[in-house]
Subunit: 405 residues, 2 copies
Amino acid sequence: MVKVNQNYLKLPGSYLFSEVARRISAYSAAHPEAKIIKLSIGDVTRPLAPAVIQAMHAAVEEMGTFEGFHGYGPEQGYPFLREAIAQFDYAARGVDILPEEIFVSDGAKSDCGNIGDIFGADNVVAVCDPVYPVYVDTNAMAGRAGDFQESLGRWSRLVYMPCVESNGFSPEIPKEQPDLIYLCFPNNPTGAMATREQLEAWVDYANATGAVILYDSAYEAFITQEDIPHTIFEIEGARTCAIEFRSFSKTAGFTGNRCAYTVVPRELERDGARLNSLWNRRQTTKFNGVPYVVQRGAAAIYTPEGRAQIMESIAYYQNNAQVIRAGLSAVGLECFGGVNAPYIWLKTPKGMGSWDFFDLLLDRANVAATPGAGFGPSGEGYLRLTAFGGAEATREAVERIKAVL
Amino acid sequence: MVKVNQNYLKLPGSYLFSEVARRISAYSAAHPEAKIIKLSIGDVTRPLAPAVIQAMHAAVEEMGTFEGFHGYGPEQGYPFLREAIAQFDYAARGVDILPEEIFVSDGAKSDCGNIGDIFGADNVVAVCDPVYPVYVDTNAMAGRAGDFQESLGRWSRLVYMPCVESNGFSPEIPKEQPDLIYLCFPNNPTGAMATREQLEAWVDYANATGAVILYDSAYEAFITQEDIPHTIFEIEGARTCAIEFRSFSKTAGFTGNRCAYTVVPRELERDGARLNSLWNRRQTTKFNGVPYVVQRGAAAIYTPEGRAQIMESIAYYQNNAQVIRAGLSAVGLECFGGVNAPYIWLKTPKGMGSWDFFDLLLDRANVAATPGAGFGPSGEGYLRLTAFGGAEATREAVERIKAVL
């Protein structure tokens, strides 16, 4: 008789974004006339850059010919893409990353979840609170989270690192000693960024204790302030303690095109094993690479035209972030983030609960946000707003929110 | 201190196809003049069908516009594709499968590996011997295989079901009672097919014992004989005991385009849980869907033109299979498969070992095959040849093999 993975049965409710989508659908069904503006899910809205479109058309054309057809590619990604990443995302910043340390994949969400495969089930995992739910749920599925404590909204075996106003939404090194530490900068959901000194402290800590930092840098392209590291590998010592996740989703609007990558340095060893070899084994065994057409599209963002085009879209979203921050701050709402990130972390007024404020904005302003409480207990009292909408809709959403306060 | 997944360290050597590729590369480097014909890895060689190319171009075009842009899609696949699959791959054969039972993914390899996520680590797994290595390696990674016994070439906790000449390469129900049973028909690597009666026996057995059949049907499009089931769901009772894996890779030449799907019926419950819900949770948490452009391409094979075009390519490969079978049989080699499958299972002459015969063909005929022993102990004494090459190259490979015997 088959036994199912009991850890799945411990997962509470549904995935945060599904629940948000459900409430929006229910509201829309009941109020078909309402024009809802979604500042909720972190999906982009601007089309793929012309250089990407051109490269994808050319690749589709190739796939229709005997000479240009590409069947199974390397599971780790084509050399043309791995080399471009190494050159433009790393060498250009003075960071040496070898192409064979880069694993191209179908998404940072997949990788952040799947990376757990190469680690034992008994590692202690530390996550920020609030946190992107994928880190928590995938570790719960693997049995590393223990049991979900309904009353606390926490898992019994996870180490939570509160990111709150008093510490500038930057996690402090926890009292318990974790093995795997998920860090996400620029942060989803708070929009906070770590300074060089803060990252140095994490790297030193991980090297001293034998921990591994799982560094999610999917929003790197949104960093605007000088002196903020764009990759954990700018920090000395990171090559012996960190794995970095990057994505084309927000950098180049690839949410529906699916391409990302994970960097596992060759020096990174734990428990007598090279993590690069383990991840390579995982990927070659359970994955078959990203579509050729998509990899060609991704590589196009490293051309001069492609670069200019994606920077234009990023600037557009950055402007939305400013509009939200400035507009809501002007009426006395407290806003965090939005400077080095496409997320604004909005404090609810009058101590209102996250889901209550979510429902209020949906009902009275027809604006959808994401309740901070959905990201963990320390997110209670906040909403996440995203800058990925249209400029006009974003402005209107801000006006509508102001009108119902 | 981080602990790695110790099961990874138990995996012997490298992945079969990597080792084959390594030997071919080494030979090529030493003999740059050699024109090697690869009848080894199961990769297709014919370009994508014109209908697929046209649909992909149109979808790329959409992705470059504000109105047509698609961001995050449903993790389970777009309704247009799930509905086409339900209609043309199932309803057209009199089989009722609901769109919500179909999960579109990036590959059957991914799914055959990832499906293990929803099952407990203590299930007993049965595999055919010889077997597609992904079933074995992914279960070994999850700790279900026990230890690798070098001298036997087997894992201590797996149940092996020999598929040998005496049983027509069709596995018999094992004495041990397995929980998870991987079946692959048309079979990779032997090219054997199960009859309706044989599948009925498996379904009855699984329902009686509470086992789950993991039915890999990636080569379904190659079935030529009448009365052979094209899906396990043609068998009464399969909805309460089977999960089916299908792929566009061989059906439509999508090996470099990455699209597949997995069917988990809603009635399928084990251990008090609906497997459809568990798989849905897995996919929504660890996966973000297949690129929109690729799903549009996949849907194009269900149009009348698309259908006609892919059938033409399949017929081309089927003809190659006949050329190999007929040519090698004529000189006294024993060939199996190749009738309902793109694989020919060739018995080595004079009791020669698989890897020895592989090396001999590579060295003397410059033909690359896949050693049967790489698929498991019962594959010793066989080679797998594939029908996915060009017609001319296939003919020449057969002549070269004949010449060195």
